[in-house]
């Protein structure tokens, strides 16, 4: 079956960057929130640039959440990037407490420790804790581009595939069945990011 990615657009994700990356990789894609387009796609991506609560407000206003939940529960691969990962948590604590999409019950999104310069912006290496097919072809200590002030916490080690060290060791890649969350920006991480995006579409599921 031909692969087709549906990129969800809630107004503050860097949708264009994700689309440009997929276009460069010649992965068929569409930017749409239309339930029909979501049905017809083989993979979903929720990009992210933004603060937790304003992102959740826009997600609830603009995305067909029930349709997305239905597709995810039926096994369609779903990738959340940066804030798109963070909103999969149960609660966010950026500016105010806000309930997330709760794909990881019990998890929280909290600010990075004050011992380091925040936001965490730039290239950092990841530490691989579980061998997983999303990492196929990557070398250890691979660098990726991060830009965030908050991190996910209270996540089961079962789901934590890779972490990153920045004053604290926080989850960089989470996988729960067909659901994957990535704290860095694969669409902006050159060769290593291209590998992850290709693996997501061709190998992950």
């Amino acid at each position: 079956m031909n692969k087709k990615v549906c990129i969800l657009d809630y107004g503050s994700g860097n949708v264009t960057s994700v689309k440009n990356a997929l276009d460069r990789l010649q992965i068929e894609n569409i930017v749409s929130n239309d339930p029909l387009a979501i049905d017809r796609s083989t993979h979903l991506i929720l990009p992210g640039v933004g603060a937790f609560s304003s992102s959740m407000d826009k997600i609830e206003a603009l995305l067909p959440i029930d349709k997305i939940r239905e597709q995810v529960s039926m096994g369609k691969p779903f990738l959340g990037i940066c804030v798109g990962l963070q909103v999969l948590a149960e609660y966010g604590h950026e500016f105010q407490q806000r309930r997330g999409l709760n794909f990881f019950p019990g998890s929280n999104v909290i600010v990075l420790p004050s011992t380091v310069s925040v936001p965490h912006v730039g290239w950092n290496s990841i530490k691989i804790l579980q061998n997983h097919k999303i990492l196929k072809g990557l070398q250890s200590e691979a660098d990726f581009y991060f830009v965030h002030s908050y991190q996910v916490t209270d996540i089961s080690p079962d789901y934590t595939v890779a972490t990153c060290d920045y004053g604290v060791e926080f989850p960089a890649i989470l996988v729960k069945d067909n659901l994957i969350g990535i704290q860095f920006h694969p669409e902006k991480s050159q060769r290593n990011g291209d590998l992850i995006l290709r693996n997501y579409v061709e190998v992950f599921a």
């Binding site: 960057s17 603060a51 804030v83 925040v118």
Partner: protein, 272 residues
Amino acid sequence: MKKKRVIPVLLLKEGWLVQSKNFNEYKKLGNAQMAVQRLSDWDSDELIYLDISSTPTFTTNRSDTAAPEYADLADLLYEVSKVARMPVTIGGGIRSLSDIENRLKAGADKISINRGALADPSLISRASREFGSQCIVVSVDYLEAEGSRKLYVSDHEDFVGKHKDVTTWLLKIQDAGAGEVLLNSVTRDGNKCGYDIEYLDEASSLLEIPIIACGGAGNWDHLSEVLTKTAVDAVAAANIFHFQDQSVFLARKHLFSQGLPVRPPSINKDRV
């Protein structure tokens, strides 16, 4: 390990890449999209473009330049972001949240505010609340005088009157929710004399948010000097990256070989 960033800056004037000296002399260097393609092929850590156009529309109606033309900044960003494999920060002319949203939509990853923040500091807090502080870079231009650093704004002298001292302004923008500061010495702009180590050291130990140092790079050792002697998170330069083939690769190779914490130098092998 977190790496220090090496960031090429592109100055854009009416859609063209230009070289600047002391913020008042400009020389056309070429087409913006081709420049971005090169910097992307050399695996730049990031890219900053600052738009300093004096008109909102760029079309010259000339057909003899053999270069693509862009109607306006959004049109240019849209085309340029297709070839940018690295994060892109856009600055210039940002006065409102919708200006920010439009640039993000056109393919920017972060935005840089300068005068818009001086005119209305609440723009920083409103923008960081809406888009997250990690998306908001505040660009600060200053002049060096003996023992002091003064804010520089090319016109609008009244702003300078309000926020004379650079350090006070830096603390204020940090409190307002800025995610990063692009700290640029106008005195050194285009002069190849090395960075303002003294002030970058002071500012980087004072601020909690990352500082991007800019102004004065004349050779790769100037970059090493900033990364060795100050706690800045990134080192940026414009002119030095536009006159040499594989400049960004060579810069990182130089820093990497000195044991500085930068990404190993690389080239996009699919294209080069």
